[in-house]
Amino acid sequence: MPIKLKGILGLSFLLIGGCSQLHHVHIGEIDQSQGTLTPFTLKVNELGFDAAKAAQIGADVAKSASTSEDLELVAFILAISNFGPKTGNPVYNDAYADQMLAEVIKVCPSKKMTGLTSVREATNVGPVSGEVVRINGYCIN
């Protein structure tokens, strides 16, 4: 395939690839017997980056065949060096979800809550992603 066509195809996939991924969902118990419920949502978001995919896109849009081949090799090395079980793209901060518990505790004035739902999801745009942890729940009034 000509390099220009490959580049256009690669960029098109990058543009339409704005993609929402659901990794994990856990629905907790919901108590509707103690009063009315007010919903709340808390969310933390961290930048994720897939270096291998970035190198692969570089290889697809490179003007010369030799640069394209070099970048493909870089993409391959990055891909095998990061091979293994993982959820979403790697991030640069391993504590980004740690403040969640403190935030959940603060959210209800009555201190009573129910129906906690934990969602681990991501929004991908090419090699970059927003790695999200979302907690939905209800305050019991």
Partner: protein, 101 residues
Amino acid sequence: MLKKTILLSLCAISLSGCVGLNTVSMTQVPAERDNKITTNSSSWNFIGINFSNAFVDEAIENLKEQCPTGKIEGVYTKHQTTGYVLVFKREVIVSAYCNEV
């Protein structure tokens, strides 16, 4: 030769598994288990391109509607993805017990 290739491809497609189990979770199961409620919600996509995960919230609302004044306990949540040819179905299947307090 072409006929054989098509037959082989069809055979391979029919033999391959098409459901991926993403996650399973469960909360404490109550002693009283008379009133079981279930729900599921799903989202279809083409080659894995999605723009929202809102179908999860649909499942929660459905569950709440089935137990408007009680306590929903023993919540078993299953998140799975079924692959058809180029089309995927993401699904959340939930079962629980509704107990009036």
